[in-house]
Amino acid sequence: MHIVVCIKQVPDSAQIRVHPVHNTIMRQGVPTIINPYDLFALEEALRLRDRLGGAVTVLTMGPPMAEDSLRKALTFGADRAVLLTDRFFAGSDTLATSYALSMAIQKIGESWGTPDVVFTGKQTIDGDTAQVGPGIARRLGLNQLTYVSAIGAVDLAARTIEVSRRAEGGVQELATRLPALITVLEGTSEIRRGRLADALRAARAEVTVWNAAQAGITEMTKCGLRGSPTVVKNVFAPKGRATKASLLDTREKTPGELAEAMMARIFDALPGIEGDLLAHAAQY
């Protein structure tokens, strides 16, 4: 079977700092990583390939340096990597991103066989929208399976797949037909440690690089800023609360007295809560 995994290179947001005066993102020196949620998708894809045979193609849209994350994916065991890069894609929102990626997936299908499953992560840590996966599914007419926690029976001959997905208040087990798009829930399966053979192969492997035209994209009005209905008008830092916490004076007080003081302050600040607590306590 042929599986495509969409991964995104993102700044390691744990290390992003905001300029205290200008409110701008200080990107300098911030390392980039594969979007952590996409690693779960990649692992599920590799497992599916190991189970049923076939090949995994990783795809990313990004600047030329996004090739690093593709190479990393190859060290984990992906078979083939495609980088979609073009200045026309700059400023894409999720609608434009899903357009470009779905065109590239179509081209991947023409080049190496129509994919049976397309995987994405649950969401990115920079865009954080969880929309690109459903967007791709819609555009390519793939059956959409989001927040998948486990992949069950897959019948390639009958073209069916069963999955468990996280729904509100429980797990929903679904059966659908291939081709399907699966967004993978976090925590499903840690990414494997790549084998030495894969690391060696990855170092030498060709990454296929496509610009818009090479990916078969002719409608440039659907790409980048022009293809994005949403516009960011304003970026600003969250407002702080004007006053800081009122701190209990810990000098010359026993812990017991401090706890009493805290309880009294809580009851003061929230009229009625004492009665509610008593009502609750009375039930036990």
């Binding site: 400023g91 954080d128 690109v132 059956n143 800081k244 306590a281």
Partner: protein
Amino acid sequence: MSGTAHAGGSRAGMRKELPEHFKAYRHVWVFMEYEHGAIHPVSLELLGEGRKLADRLGGELAGVALGGDHGQMIEVANAAFAHGADVTYITAEPVLAHYRNEPYTRAMTELVNTYKPEILLLGATVLGRDLAGSVATTLLTGLTADCTELAIDAERSLAATRPTFGGSLLCTIHTLNVRPQMATVRPRVMSMPKADPQRTGRIVEHRLDLREEDIVTKVLRFLPDRDSNKAQLAYADIVVAGGLGLRSAENFQLVRNLAEVLGGEWGGSRPLVQKGWITADRQIGQTGRTIRPRLYIAAGISGAIQHRVGVEGADLIVAINTDPTAPIFDFAHLGIVADATEFLPILTDTFRKRLSVNRLAG
């Protein structure tokens, strides 16, 4: 490249005048999420917010009720009216009995194309996100996820504010040149409007020509979560949470003990999930649950921005931290500089005594 990459970039050719074809799009809609016999509270919260937007636009507020049973959808409509809706669009068809992306996307896009709302709001729940992404792509319109603030600007455009870059900044996003403008909001981010059971409204019925044979995806089973408390964290009145300052998984029991005495729920910061001290559904913050309790007690939590955005809606935030300069004291209302592993048991005892003494006296 996607998402926030174009932050700050302004675009040439932005329209000031509302184009003629936009004028067909009126009113504010809220998708009424209904599953397993219950309306998700986020839909009612959205009605409260939608009411303000509709008033600002001088338009109507509508609920959209999709489901398998007509009687149930009438109940949903009545709840929508009680929480501020003027109209409810109902599509009740057997294919909509359980949520599935395909028929729900069909039903929703058909309603939108027929009745043309200016704004469409959905809860940023598992179901809402699954649906919103496909509906927006089908309609080729913009969708702003996980908004924390919604407003109408001078040009009648929806200004949707959301956290970006891991919550360190906020950005305001507009959808230009396409209607409807779509946004999702997480549960508990907006406050619940007061219900008025006397309020009524208009019902618009819409049939959907879709048979079960036409739908590829089938629901095999639904396995409800065993721990029925799990979903309660977001809606708890009292929440006690712990962070890395507790130093060990064993010490986390101290948080649970206090929560139990207070009859509240417990949760924690993200590193505790990563360490396996608590499960992911107990994580509080930007990538976990947003909470809005009356009382929030944070023990050994530094108060990083990603945590802060999930708890700011609490009426009273109480922090216990050994570091007087910890950021949590910048937004907590009440605090103590103390070792949480020592102070929590004493505080728990103090509450326990007060509550049991009073019970005996009463």
